[in-house]
Amino acid sequence: MTDAGRPETAVPADAEPVVCPYCGFELPDETQYRLHSGLEHYGSLTDDEREQFKQTYTDEETTLNRFRIIALGGLVALYFGFLVVYAVLAV
Protein backbone atom coordinates (compact mmCIF):
# COMPACT_ATOMS: atom_id res chain seq x y z
CA MET A 1 0.00 0.00 0.00
CA THR A 2 3.04 2.22 0.23
CA ASP A 3 6.41 2.51 -1.44
CA ALA A 4 7.21 -1.06 -0.49
CA GLY A 5 4.32 -2.30 -2.63
CA ARG A 6 1.18 -3.98 -1.44
CA PRO A 7 1.39 -6.26 1.61
CA GLU A 8 1.11 -9.97 0.94
CA THR A 9 -2.26 -11.60 1.48
CA ALA A 10 -3.63 -15.03 2.26
CA VAL A 11 -7.22 -15.64 1.17
CA PRO A 12 -9.14 -18.47 2.83
CA ALA A 13 -10.19 -21.21 0.37
CA ASP A 14 -13.91 -20.55 0.75
CA ALA A 15 -13.73 -16.75 0.49
CA GLU A 16 -14.53 -14.67 -2.57
CA PRO A 17 -12.23 -11.69 -2.49
CA VAL A 18 -12.65 -8.48 -4.45
CA VAL A 19 -9.42 -8.15 -6.41
CA CYS A 20 -8.13 -4.67 -7.18
CA PRO A 21 -7.68 -4.43 -10.97
CA TYR A 22 -4.82 -1.95 -10.59
CA CYS A 23 -2.51 -3.80 -8.18
CA GLY A 24 -4.03 -7.22 -7.57
CA PHE A 25 -4.59 -6.55 -3.86
CA GLU A 26 -7.34 -8.77 -2.45
CA LEU A 27 -10.02 -7.24 -0.28
CA PRO A 28 -12.88 -8.92 1.56
CA ASP A 29 -15.68 -6.63 0.39
CA GLU A 30 -16.75 -3.96 -2.06
CA THR A 31 -16.62 -1.14 0.53
CA GLN A 32 -12.98 -1.84 1.34
CA TYR A 33 -12.21 -2.05 -2.37
CA ARG A 34 -13.83 1.36 -3.01
CA LEU A 35 -11.72 2.89 -0.24
CA HIS A 36 -8.57 1.14 -1.40
CA SER A 37 -9.01 2.23 -5.01
CA GLY A 38 -9.58 5.85 -3.97
CA LEU A 39 -6.66 5.95 -1.57
CA GLU A 40 -4.12 4.14 -3.72
CA HIS A 41 -5.16 4.66 -7.34
CA TYR A 42 -7.09 7.92 -7.30
CA GLY A 43 -5.29 9.15 -10.42
CA SER A 44 -6.36 6.15 -12.48
CA LEU A 45 -10.05 6.20 -11.51
CA THR A 46 -12.88 7.41 -13.74
CA ASP A 47 -15.04 10.30 -12.54
CA ASP A 48 -17.78 7.83 -11.70
CA GLU A 49 -15.44 5.69 -9.56
CA ARG A 50 -14.10 8.78 -7.81
CA GLU A 51 -17.64 9.75 -6.93
CA GLN A 52 -18.24 6.24 -5.54
CA PHE A 53 -15.05 6.51 -3.47
CA LYS A 54 -16.11 9.85 -2.01
CA GLN A 55 -19.54 8.43 -1.21
CA THR A 56 -18.02 5.38 0.54
CA TYR A 57 -15.57 7.61 2.42
CA THR A 58 -18.43 9.81 3.65
CA ASP A 59 -20.53 6.79 4.60
CA GLU A 60 -17.61 5.49 6.63
CA GLU A 61 -17.92 8.61 8.75
CA THR A 62 -21.26 7.33 10.09
CA THR A 63 -19.81 4.07 11.41
CA LEU A 64 -16.77 5.94 12.71
CA ASN A 65 -19.03 8.26 14.67
CA ARG A 66 -20.70 5.29 16.29
CA PHE A 67 -17.30 3.94 17.25
CA ARG A 68 -16.25 7.32 18.63
CA ILE A 69 -19.25 7.42 20.94
CA ILE A 70 -18.36 3.97 22.26
CA ALA A 71 -14.70 4.99 22.66
CA LEU A 72 -15.74 8.14 24.51
CA GLY A 73 -17.94 6.02 26.75
CA GLY A 74 -14.92 3.76 27.36
CA LEU A 75 -12.74 6.72 28.30
CA VAL A 76 -15.36 8.12 30.67
CA ALA A 77 -15.87 4.70 32.27
CA LEU A 78 -12.11 4.25 32.63
CA TYR A 79 -11.63 7.71 34.14
CA PHE A 80 -14.47 7.61 36.59
CA GLY A 81 -13.87 3.96 37.36
CA PHE A 82 -10.36 4.77 38.50
CA LEU A 83 -11.53 7.92 40.25
CA VAL A 84 -13.99 5.95 42.34
CA VAL A 85 -11.54 3.13 43.06
CA TYR A 86 -8.89 5.62 44.16
CA ALA A 87 -11.36 7.51 46.30
CA VAL A 88 -12.30 4.30 48.08
CA LEU A 89 -8.90 2.62 48.37
CA ALA A 90 -6.10 5.18 48.29
CA VAL A 91 -6.86 7.46 51.17
Binding site: T2, P7, E26, T31, Q32, F67, R68, G74, L78
Partner: protein
Protein backbone atom coordinates in the same frame (compact mmCIF):
# COMPACT_ATOMS: atom_id res chain seq x y z
CA UNK B 1 19.25 -6.20 31.76
CA UNK B 2 18.89 -2.57 32.65
CA UNK B 3 16.72 -2.93 35.62
CA UNK B 4 18.55 -5.49 37.68
CA UNK B 5 21.96 -4.27 36.60
CA UNK B 6 21.14 -0.82 37.81
CA UNK B 7 19.72 -2.10 41.02
CA UNK B 8 22.59 -4.38 41.77
CA UNK B 9 25.23 -1.75 41.11
CA UNK B 10 23.30 0.87 43.01
CA UNK B 11 22.71 -1.45 45.91
CA UNK B 12 26.38 -2.36 46.08
CA UNK B 13 27.27 1.31 46.14
CA UNK B 14 24.62 2.17 48.68
CA UNK B 15 25.47 -0.71 50.98
CA UNK B 16 29.12 0.18 51.00
CA UNK B 17 28.28 3.80 51.73
CA UNK B 18 26.15 2.73 54.63
CA UNK B 19 28.94 0.53 55.90
CA UNK B 20 31.50 3.28 55.67
CA UNK B 21 29.18 5.84 57.14
CA UNK B 22 30.41 8.45 54.73
CA UNK B 23 27.05 9.98 54.09
CA UNK B 24 24.28 11.02 56.38
CA UNK B 25 21.31 8.74 56.85
CA UNK B 26 19.04 10.96 54.80
CA UNK B 27 21.31 10.99 51.79
CA UNK B 28 21.71 7.25 51.91
CA UNK B 29 17.98 6.84 52.16
CA UNK B 30 17.60 8.95 49.05
CA UNK B 31 20.17 6.85 47.26
CA UNK B 32 18.40 3.71 48.39
CA UNK B 33 15.24 5.13 46.88
CA UNK B 34 17.04 4.76 43.56
CA UNK B 35 16.36 1.10 43.73
CA UNK B 36 12.64 1.58 43.65
CA UNK B 37 11.37 3.46 40.69
CA UNK B 38 8.27 4.71 42.49
CA UNK B 39 7.92 6.68 45.66
CA UNK B 40 5.86 4.80 48.20
CA UNK B 41 4.56 7.72 50.20
CA UNK B 42 1.00 7.18 48.97
CA UNK B 43 -0.47 3.85 49.97
CA UNK B 44 -1.78 2.55 46.67
CA UNK B 45 -2.43 -1.19 46.45
CA UNK B 46 -0.15 -2.86 43.91
CA UNK B 47 -2.98 -4.14 41.72
CA UNK B 48 -4.44 -0.65 41.51
CA UNK B 49 -1.07 0.83 40.57
CA UNK B 50 -0.65 -1.80 37.85
CA UNK B 51 -4.21 -1.36 36.62
CA UNK B 52 -3.64 2.40 36.39
CA UNK B 53 -0.58 1.88 34.20
CA UNK B 54 -2.50 -0.54 31.99
CA UNK B 55 -5.48 1.80 31.95
CA UNK B 56 -3.34 4.70 30.80
CA UNK B 57 -2.14 2.69 27.82
CA UNK B 58 -5.68 1.59 27.01
CA UNK B 59 -6.86 5.19 27.28
CA UNK B 60 -4.17 6.36 24.88
CA UNK B 61 -5.43 3.81 22.36
CA UNK B 62 -8.98 5.14 22.76
CA UNK B 63 -7.73 8.71 22.39
CA UNK B 64 -5.70 7.82 19.29
CA UNK B 65 -8.82 6.24 17.79
CA UNK B 66 -10.37 9.71 17.61
CA UNK B 67 -7.69 10.77 15.17
CA UNK B 68 -9.00 9.46 11.86
CA UNK B 69 -7.72 12.05 9.40
CA UNK B 70 -5.27 10.19 7.19
CA UNK B 71 -3.48 13.30 5.98
CA UNK B 72 -3.06 14.59 9.52
CA UNK B 73 -1.65 11.25 10.71
CA UNK B 74 0.79 11.07 7.84
CA UNK B 75 1.94 14.66 8.36
CA UNK B 76 3.60 13.73 11.67
CA UNK B 77 5.62 11.03 10.01
CA UNK B 78 6.63 13.03 6.97
CA UNK B 79 7.93 16.09 8.81
CA UNK B 80 11.71 16.40 8.54
CA UNK B 81 14.63 17.52 6.43
CA UNK B 82 18.33 17.16 5.82
CA UNK B 83 21.56 18.52 7.27
CA UNK B 84 25.07 18.37 5.92
CA UNK B 85 27.03 15.28 6.76
CA UNK B 86 30.03 15.68 9.09
CA UNK B 87 33.46 15.37 7.55
CA UNK B 88 35.80 12.42 7.53
CA UNK B 89 37.94 13.94 10.28
CA UNK B 90 35.06 13.70 12.74
CA UNK B 91 34.44 10.08 11.74
CA UNK B 92 38.11 9.31 12.27
CA UNK B 93 38.08 10.97 15.69
CA UNK B 94 34.98 8.91 16.53
CA UNK B 95 36.69 5.68 15.52
CA UNK B 96 39.82 6.46 17.51
CA UNK B 97 37.76 7.42 20.56
CA UNK B 98 35.88 4.11 20.41
CA UNK B 99 39.09 2.19 20.01
CA UNK B 100 40.83 4.07 22.85
CA UNK B 101 37.93 3.51 25.24
CA UNK B 102 37.86 -0.19 24.40
CA UNK B 103 41.58 -0.52 25.07
CA UNK B 104 41.37 1.34 28.39
CA UNK B 105 38.31 -0.68 29.44
CA UNK B 106 39.96 -4.02 28.79
CA UNK B 107 43.29 -2.97 30.33
CA UNK B 108 41.75 -1.54 33.49
CA UNK B 109 39.37 -4.49 33.63
CA UNK B 110 42.37 -6.76 34.13
CA UNK B 111 44.82 -4.47 35.91
CA UNK B 112 42.53 -2.19 37.93
CA UNK B 113 41.01 -2.85 41.35
CA UNK B 114 38.90 -6.03 41.52
CA UNK B 115 35.93 -4.31 43.16
CA UNK B 116 33.19 -3.65 40.60
CA UNK B 117 32.14 -0.13 41.53
CA UNK B 118 35.77 1.04 41.82
CA UNK B 119 36.85 -0.40 38.49
CA UNK B 120 36.63 1.82 35.43
CA UNK B 121 35.73 -1.12 33.16
CA UNK B 122 32.57 -1.90 35.15
CA UNK B 123 31.41 1.66 35.76
CA UNK B 124 32.19 2.70 32.20
CA UNK B 125 30.47 -0.23 30.49
CA UNK B 126 27.35 -0.28 32.67
CA UNK B 127 26.89 3.39 33.49
CA UNK B 128 28.72 5.28 30.75
CA UNK B 129 28.05 3.00 27.81
CA UNK B 130 24.87 1.09 28.62
CA UNK B 131 23.18 3.80 30.69
CA UNK B 132 24.39 6.90 28.87
CA UNK B 133 25.67 6.16 25.40
CA UNK B 134 22.89 3.73 24.46
CA UNK B 135 20.38 6.42 25.46
CA UNK B 136 22.07 8.78 23.01
CA UNK B 137 21.45 6.36 20.13
CA UNK B 138 17.69 6.90 20.41
CA UNK B 139 17.63 10.44 21.87
CA UNK B 140 20.05 11.94 19.34
CA UNK B 141 21.12 9.47 16.66
CA UNK B 142 22.88 6.17 16.17
CA UNK B 143 26.62 6.88 16.11
CA UNK B 144 27.56 3.27 16.83
CA UNK B 145 28.48 2.35 13.22
CA UNK B 146 31.25 4.98 13.49
CA UNK B 147 32.28 4.52 17.11
CA UNK B 148 31.97 0.71 17.21
CA UNK B 149 35.52 -0.34 18.19
CA UNK B 150 34.83 -3.98 17.35
CA UNK B 151 34.13 -2.93 13.79
CA UNK B 152 37.21 -0.71 13.61
CA UNK B 153 39.35 -3.65 14.70
CA UNK B 154 37.58 -6.14 12.44
CA UNK B 155 38.10 -3.91 9.40
CA UNK B 156 41.86 -4.12 9.87
CA UNK B 157 41.67 -7.75 8.77
CA UNK B 158 41.15 -8.98 5.21
CA UNK B 159 37.84 -10.67 4.52
CA UNK B 160 37.13 -13.95 2.76
CA UNK B 161 33.72 -12.46 1.78
CA UNK B 162 31.95 -15.80 1.98
CA UNK B 163 28.31 -15.72 0.90
CA UNK B 164 26.17 -15.25 4.00
CA UNK B 165 23.35 -17.82 3.94
CA UNK B 166 20.30 -15.62 3.35
CA UNK B 167 17.88 -18.08 4.88
CA UNK B 168 19.54 -17.43 8.26
CA UNK B 169 18.52 -13.76 8.03
CA UNK B 170 18.55 -12.03 11.41
CA UNK B 171 18.14 -15.25 13.41
CA UNK B 172 21.82 -15.40 14.43
CA UNK B 173 21.45 -11.93 15.95
CA UNK B 174 18.41 -13.12 17.91
CA UNK B 175 20.47 -16.05 19.21
CA UNK B 176 23.38 -13.69 19.91
CA UNK B 177 21.22 -11.30 21.91
CA UNK B 178 19.73 -14.19 23.88
CA UNK B 179 23.24 -15.50 24.57
CA UNK B 180 24.61 -12.10 25.67
CA UNK B 181 21.78 -11.55 28.13
CA UNK B 182 22.06 -15.15 29.32
CA UNK B 183 25.70 -14.55 30.17
CA UNK B 184 24.75 -11.27 31.82
CA UNK B 185 22.10 -12.94 33.97
CA UNK B 186 23.96 -16.04 35.13
CA UNK B 187 27.43 -14.55 35.66
CA UNK B 188 28.53 -11.59 37.82
CA UNK B 189 29.32 -9.48 34.75
CA UNK B 190 28.47 -6.25 36.58
CA UNK B 191 30.60 -7.02 39.61
CA UNK B 192 33.67 -8.76 38.27
CA UNK B 193 35.90 -6.55 36.07
CA UNK B 194 38.15 -9.47 35.06
CA UNK B 195 35.18 -11.43 33.75
CA UNK B 196 33.87 -8.33 31.98
CA UNK B 197 37.22 -7.71 30.28
CA UNK B 198 37.42 -11.34 29.16
CA UNK B 199 33.87 -11.18 27.81
CA UNK B 200 34.75 -8.05 25.82
CA UNK B 201 37.83 -9.75 24.41
CA UNK B 202 35.78 -12.80 23.46
CA UNK B 203 33.23 -10.51 21.80
CA UNK B 204 36.02 -8.84 19.83
CA UNK B 205 37.35 -12.22 18.73
CA UNK B 206 33.91 -13.38 17.55
CA UNK B 207 33.35 -10.08 15.70
CA UNK B 208 36.71 -10.32 13.95
CA UNK B 209 36.11 -13.96 13.00
CA UNK B 210 32.65 -13.13 11.65
CA UNK B 211 33.93 -10.15 9.66
CA UNK B 212 36.79 -12.13 8.23
CA UNK B 213 34.33 -14.78 7.09
CA UNK B 214 31.43 -12.65 5.76
CA UNK B 215 32.81 -9.12 5.46
CA UNK B 216 32.40 -6.44 8.11
CA UNK B 217 29.38 -4.81 6.45
CA UNK B 218 27.40 -8.02 6.38
CA UNK B 219 28.49 -9.04 9.87
CA UNK B 220 27.69 -5.77 11.63
CA UNK B 221 24.48 -5.10 9.73
CA UNK B 222 23.07 -8.62 10.05
CA UNK B 223 24.59 -10.83 12.73
CA UNK B 224 26.10 -8.58 15.43
CA UNK B 225 23.33 -8.22 18.07
CA UNK B 226 24.60 -4.97 19.61
CA UNK B 227 24.85 -3.23 16.25
CA UNK B 228 21.39 -4.42 15.30
CA UNK B 229 19.84 -3.33 18.59
CA UNK B 230 21.41 0.12 18.38
CA UNK B 231 20.42 0.42 14.72
CA UNK B 232 16.79 -0.13 15.72
CA UNK B 233 17.14 2.36 18.57
CA UNK B 234 18.61 4.75 16.01
CA UNK B 235 15.45 4.48 13.94
CA UNK B 236 13.63 6.09 16.86
CA UNK B 237 16.10 8.97 17.06
CA UNK B 238 15.44 12.42 15.58
CA UNK B 239 18.71 12.38 13.61
CA UNK B 240 19.91 9.73 11.19
CA UNK B 241 22.90 9.39 8.91
CA UNK B 242 21.82 8.70 5.33
CA UNK B 243 23.73 8.50 2.06
CA UNK B 244 23.21 12.18 1.31
CA UNK B 245 23.68 13.82 4.70
CA UNK B 246 21.92 13.74 8.05
CA UNK B 247 18.13 13.63 8.03
CA UNK B 248 16.03 14.89 10.92
CA UNK B 249 12.45 14.07 11.90
CA UNK B 250 10.18 13.87 14.93
CA UNK B 251 11.33 11.23 17.46
CA UNK B 252 9.77 7.83 16.84
CA UNK B 253 8.02 8.88 13.67
CA UNK B 254 10.28 6.85 11.36
CA UNK B 255 9.05 3.66 13.04
CA UNK B 256 6.16 3.49 10.56
CA UNK B 257 8.61 3.04 7.68
CA UNK B 258 7.35 -0.09 5.86
CA UNK B 259 10.94 -1.08 5.09
CA UNK B 260 12.15 -0.99 8.70
CA UNK B 261 11.39 -4.65 9.40
CA UNK B 262 11.64 -7.08 6.53
CA UNK B 263 10.86 -10.51 7.93
CA UNK B 264 9.82 -12.78 10.76
CA UNK B 265 13.42 -12.92 11.97
CA UNK B 266 13.55 -9.15 12.51
CA UNK B 267 10.18 -9.15 14.25
CA UNK B 268 11.61 -11.81 16.58
CA UNK B 269 14.63 -9.61 17.28
CA UNK B 270 12.48 -6.65 18.30
CA UNK B 271 10.34 -8.85 20.54
CA UNK B 272 13.56 -10.30 21.97
CA UNK B 273 14.88 -6.81 22.73
CA UNK B 274 11.82 -6.17 24.84
CA UNK B 275 11.82 -9.63 26.36
CA UNK B 276 15.41 -9.75 27.63
CA UNK B 277 14.85 -6.58 29.66
CA UNK B 278 11.82 -8.14 31.26
CA UNK B 279 13.52 -11.44 32.02
CA UNK B 280 16.50 -9.74 33.60
CA UNK B 281 14.22 -7.86 35.96
CA UNK B 282 11.98 -10.86 36.56
CA UNK B 283 14.71 -13.13 37.98
CA UNK B 284 15.20 -10.60 40.80
CA UNK B 285 11.60 -10.88 42.06
CA UNK B 286 10.18 -13.02 44.86
CA UNK B 287 7.92 -14.78 42.36
CA UNK B 288 10.89 -16.16 40.46
CA UNK B 289 12.71 -16.95 43.68
CA UNK B 290 9.91 -19.10 45.04
CA UNK B 291 9.38 -20.76 41.65
CA UNK B 292 13.09 -21.52 41.19
CA UNK B 293 13.51 -22.77 44.75
CA UNK B 294 10.47 -25.01 44.30
CA UNK B 295 11.66 -26.36 40.95
CA UNK B 296 15.18 -27.04 42.22
CA UNK B 297 13.61 -28.70 45.27
CA UNK B 298 12.08 -31.22 42.89
CA UNK B 299 15.57 -32.21 41.85
CA UNK B 300 16.06 -30.09 38.72
CA UNK B 301 19.40 -28.49 37.92
CA UNK B 302 19.35 -24.74 38.86
CA UNK B 303 20.86 -23.53 35.60
CA UNK B 304 18.50 -25.82 33.71
CA UNK B 305 15.54 -24.15 35.44
CA UNK B 306 16.87 -20.72 34.46
CA UNK B 307 17.45 -21.81 30.89
CA UNK B 308 14.08 -23.45 30.36
CA UNK B 309 12.33 -20.43 31.89
CA UNK B 310 14.41 -18.06 29.73
CA UNK B 311 13.51 -19.80 26.48
CA UNK B 312 9.89 -20.47 27.46
CA UNK B 313 9.40 -16.82 28.36
CA UNK B 314 10.68 -15.74 24.96
CA UNK B 315 8.35 -18.22 23.29
CA UNK B 316 5.47 -16.75 25.32
CA UNK B 317 6.34 -13.20 24.24
CA UNK B 318 6.56 -14.25 20.60
CA UNK B 319 3.31 -16.19 20.97
CA UNK B 320 1.54 -13.18 22.49
CA UNK B 321 2.65 -10.95 19.63
CA UNK B 322 1.70 -13.56 17.02
CA UNK B 323 -1.69 -13.99 18.68
CA UNK B 324 -2.28 -10.24 18.60
CA UNK B 325 -1.56 -10.23 14.87
CA UNK B 326 -4.19 -12.95 14.49
CA UNK B 327 -6.65 -10.61 16.20
CA UNK B 328 -5.57 -7.80 13.88
CA UNK B 329 -6.37 -10.01 10.90
CA UNK B 330 -9.70 -11.00 12.36
CA UNK B 331 -10.97 -7.63 13.63
CA UNK B 332 -9.40 -5.65 10.81
CA UNK B 333 -11.26 -8.00 8.40
CA UNK B 334 -8.40 -8.20 5.96
CA UNK B 335 -6.61 -10.82 3.90
CA UNK B 336 -3.19 -9.38 4.76
CA UNK B 337 -1.07 -12.15 6.29
CA UNK B 338 -0.02 -12.19 9.93
CA UNK B 339 3.58 -11.91 8.80
CA UNK B 340 2.95 -8.72 6.86
CA UNK B 341 0.94 -7.27 9.75
CA UNK B 342 3.66 -8.24 12.23
CA UNK B 343 6.31 -6.48 10.20
CA UNK B 344 4.36 -3.23 10.36
CA UNK B 345 3.26 -3.45 13.99
CA UNK B 346 6.54 -4.74 15.53
CA UNK B 347 8.41 -1.40 15.23
CA UNK B 348 5.90 0.19 17.61
CA UNK B 349 7.38 -2.06 20.33
CA UNK B 350 10.69 -0.24 19.88
CA UNK B 351 9.13 2.91 21.32
CA UNK B 352 8.25 0.91 24.43
CA UNK B 353 11.77 -0.51 24.66
CA UNK B 354 13.17 3.02 24.38
CA UNK B 355 10.84 4.33 27.10
CA UNK B 356 11.86 1.56 29.49
CA UNK B 357 15.54 1.89 28.80
CA UNK B 358 15.47 5.61 29.53
CA UNK B 359 13.24 5.26 32.55
CA UNK B 360 15.35 2.51 34.10
CA UNK B 361 18.63 4.27 33.51
CA UNK B 362 17.92 7.96 34.07
CA UNK B 363 18.23 8.13 37.86
CA UNK B 364 20.95 5.51 37.90
CA UNK B 365 22.97 7.39 35.29
CA UNK B 366 22.67 10.77 36.99
CA UNK B 367 23.45 9.38 40.44
CA UNK B 368 26.49 7.38 39.38
CA UNK B 369 27.90 9.74 36.73
CA UNK B 370 30.35 11.31 39.25
CA UNK B 371 31.71 7.79 39.85
CA UNK B 372 32.44 7.36 36.14
CA UNK B 373 34.26 10.70 36.02
CA UNK B 374 36.31 10.19 39.18
CA UNK B 375 37.14 6.54 38.51
CA UNK B 376 37.91 7.45 34.88
CA UNK B 377 40.29 10.19 35.98
CA UNK B 378 42.42 7.75 37.97
CA UNK B 379 41.44 4.29 36.77
CA UNK B 380 44.35 2.44 38.37
CA UNK B 381 44.06 4.02 41.81
CA UNK B 382 40.44 5.09 42.26
CA UNK B 383 39.23 6.38 45.64
CA UNK B 384 37.97 3.78 48.10
CA UNK B 385 34.51 5.21 47.78
CA UNK B 386 33.86 6.85 44.39
CA UNK B 387 31.41 9.75 44.76
CA UNK B 388 27.76 9.39 43.87
CA UNK B 389 24.97 11.92 43.81
CA UNK B 390 23.22 10.70 46.92
CA UNK B 391 20.31 13.09 47.06
CA UNK B 392 18.45 13.01 43.79
CA UNK B 393 15.27 15.07 43.96
CA UNK B 394 12.11 13.03 44.41
CA UNK B 395 10.61 14.16 41.12
CA UNK B 396 13.22 12.13 39.21
CA UNK B 397 11.25 8.97 39.92
CA UNK B 398 8.14 10.77 38.69
CA UNK B 399 9.98 11.58 35.46
CA UNK B 400 10.96 7.91 35.18
CA UNK B 401 7.35 6.78 35.42
CA UNK B 402 6.35 9.46 32.90
CA UNK B 403 8.99 8.17 30.47
CA UNK B 404 7.54 4.65 30.61
CA UNK B 405 4.17 6.14 29.81
CA UNK B 406 5.47 8.38 27.02
CA UNK B 407 7.14 5.35 25.41
CA UNK B 408 3.81 3.55 25.43
CA UNK B 409 1.88 6.51 24.09
CA UNK B 410 4.33 6.82 21.18
CA UNK B 411 4.03 3.06 20.62
CA UNK B 412 0.23 3.30 20.50
CA UNK B 413 0.52 6.18 18.05
CA UNK B 414 3.01 4.33 15.83
CA UNK B 415 0.71 1.29 15.73
CA UNK B 416 -2.18 3.63 14.91
CA UNK B 417 -0.30 5.29 12.05
CA UNK B 418 0.95 1.94 10.70
CA UNK B 419 -2.61 0.60 10.73
CA UNK B 420 -3.84 3.67 8.85
CA UNK B 421 -1.15 3.14 6.28
CA UNK B 422 -2.05 -0.54 5.90
CA UNK B 423 -5.84 -0.68 6.01
CA UNK B 424 -8.14 0.94 3.45
CA UNK B 425 -10.98 1.27 5.97
CA UNK B 426 -10.48 3.65 8.90
CA UNK B 427 -12.67 1.64 11.25
CA UNK B 428 -10.84 -1.56 10.27
CA UNK B 429 -7.57 0.23 11.00
CA UNK B 430 -8.75 1.04 14.52
CA UNK B 431 -10.08 -2.46 15.14
CA UNK B 432 -6.87 -4.04 13.91
CA UNK B 433 -5.10 -2.52 16.93
CA UNK B 434 -7.20 -4.36 19.51
CA UNK B 435 -4.75 -7.23 19.88
CA UNK B 436 -1.58 -5.19 19.93
CA UNK B 437 -3.15 -2.77 22.45
CA UNK B 438 -4.08 -5.69 24.73
CA UNK B 439 -0.52 -6.99 24.52
CA UNK B 440 0.84 -3.53 25.34
CA UNK B 441 -1.49 -3.16 28.32
CA UNK B 442 -0.41 -6.57 29.64
CA UNK B 443 3.24 -5.74 29.08
CA UNK B 444 2.92 -2.42 30.92
CA UNK B 445 1.43 -4.15 33.91
CA UNK B 446 4.08 -6.87 33.97
CA UNK B 447 6.92 -4.35 33.67
CA UNK B 448 5.51 -2.00 36.28
CA UNK B 449 5.13 -4.94 38.62
CA UNK B 450 8.74 -5.99 38.07
CA UNK B 451 10.03 -2.44 38.53
CA UNK B 452 8.15 -1.86 41.78
CA UNK B 453 8.53 -5.30 43.38
CA UNK B 454 11.30 -5.38 46.01
CA UNK B 455 14.49 -6.87 44.57
CA UNK B 456 15.80 -10.17 45.82
CA UNK B 457 19.10 -11.67 44.77
CA UNK B 458 18.36 -14.22 42.04
CA UNK B 459 18.80 -17.65 43.65
CA UNK B 460 21.50 -20.16 42.63
CA UNK B 461 23.57 -17.89 40.40
CA UNK B 462 26.91 -16.31 41.21
CA UNK B 463 26.45 -12.68 42.16
CA UNK B 464 29.64 -12.24 44.13
CA UNK B 465 31.53 -8.98 44.26
CA UNK B 466 34.63 -9.79 42.32
CA UNK B 467 36.78 -12.91 42.36
Amino acid sequence: MICRRRRRLASVVVTSILALGLLSGTAAAHAAALRDATPTTLEVPTWLFLATGGGAVGASFLLASFVTDRVFIRSFHEWGGRLRSPGRIIALIGRLTGLGLLAVTVYVGYMGPPTGYRNFAVVFVWIGWWGGYVASTYLIGNTWPTLNPFRTIAELFPSANLAYPDRLGAWPSVAGLMLLIWIEVVTPLADDPRLLASTILAYTAVSVAGSVAFGSNKWFSTVDPISRALAYFGRFAPLERTDDGISFRLPGMALTDPKLVSGRDEVAFIVCLLYVTTFDGFVATWLWESFAVGAVGLGLAPLGVYFVAYVTGFALFLGAFWWSMGLARQYGSTYITRDALGRRFAPSLLAIAVGYHLSHNLGFFIALLPSVVVVGAMPLSPPQQPPILGSLPGWISGVEMALVLIGHVIAVWVAHAAAYDLFPGRLEAIKSQYGVTLVMVAYTMISLWIVTTPIVEPPYIATGEGP
